[in-house]
């Protein structure tokens, strides 16, 4: 999960996020090398004693600084497109969950087998227990089975929202009157936090998302208990 003064991404909990992390490292190395080159050129320009006011053109250097950026862009674009198409692959989800954005909470519906619906409100700061995270905890978590393809249908009941879990590499806009599909597989059990990512009013910062990935048996127990409670 996120920690104070964090600069990079959270640890990946899904295969897509792992790919995104690797692509980010690859692109960042290219950016670092370009930055080094630019920094060196700046220093060289500032410290040179050579000045020629009458250079008009130079075919060689213009060819170099046209071809080289094109090659760099191709080196970045190819892995990027690969991940883009990987994210859009047709998959066969084991479970479909609907996530509905409201002002200012999320509600989840598990309607594949029974009609399980519940709301997920942020736990207020004064009600937090020891070890709980401020502005991130909710009263009901979205519990899902781990290592299973999951489809989340995201929509909203009033204004625009966005359902996000950084550790899973998922971000999907919640648009009223529209169903957006997000698919992911959670590789390991754990609790994954996210926050609403589309400005939606006064309490936009106070409607977090918590996904808990558990083994299938525990998921079945949880859904039975939730059905009894509801």
């Amino acid at each position: 999960m996120a920690h104070p003064s964090q600069l990079g991404f959270q640890d990946a909990a899904s295969p897509i996020m792992e790919e995104l992390l690797h692509f980010h490292d690859h692109t960042l190395m290219i950016v670092f090398l370009i930055s080094t080159l630019v920094l060196y050129i700046i220093v060289a320009m500032v410290t040179t004693k050579l000045t020629n006011k009458y250079i008009l053109d130079s075919q060689e250097i213009e060819i170099v600084w046209t071809i080289l950026p094109a090659i760099i862009l191709i080196m970045i674009a190819l892995p990027s497109l690969r991940i883009l198409y990987l994210m859009d692959e047709i998959n066969d989800p084991h479970i479909t969950i609907k996530a509905l954005g409201h002002q200012w909470y999320w509600s989840y519906e598990y309607t594949d087998y029974e009609n399980l619906e519940f709301d997920s409100y942020m736990i207020q700061t004064e009600d937090l227990g020891p070890g709980q995270f401020r502005l991130l905890e909710t009263d009901h978590r979205m519990v899902v089975p781990m290592e299973s393809p999951i489809r989340v249908l995201v929509t909203a009941e009033d204004v625009l929202h966005a359902w996000t879990i950084p550790a899973l590499g998922v971000k999907m806009d919640a648009v009223p009157g529209r169903l957006n599909q997000a698919a992911f597989i959670i590789s390991r059990p754990g609790v994954y936090y996210g926050q609403c990512s589309e400005i939606c009013g006064a309490n936009h910062s106070f409607m977090p998302i918590v996904v808990e990935a558990v083994p299938l048996e525990h998921f079945e127990n949880w859904s039975s208990l939730m059905l009894e409670e509801v």
Binding site: H22, M29, F32, L33, A44, G131, F133, V143, G190, V191
Partner: protein
Amino acid sequence: MVPSPILLQSSDILAPTVFTINLLMMSFNLLGILDVQNTPCARDSVLYGSAGALVAGVGHFLATSRVKRSFDFGVGSFLLTTLGTWMFCRYQNAKLRIQHRMVQEGMKNKVMYEGTKMDPTKKADRSSRDNQIDNPGSTARER
């Protein structure tokens, strides 16, 4: 409220989070952006690049005694060596990750299918038994 059924409560996340913070506070960002300690292959690439830059720069200077041009060579060779080492290391890393995933999948399948018809180890035994049935005289001849 239904208690969370599992494994992890928030307090269980606290200790690893503190550990992660301690680990990442030891990170070192080159030019403020590239975390060489926590990015796979980054440290090796930068070190090889630096070594290559030193060799090329010093070598050129010793050969030509031109300072600025030697610096240019050094920086150029840093860029090329770093990029080349990075690409090679990432390629090897990617192959390793694929193998890791295949091994994980294989281990999971073995555990799941052990003792059933689909047990992959049973298939190997079955095919060797089928070979003996197809060549019934072979065992007798061997004797």
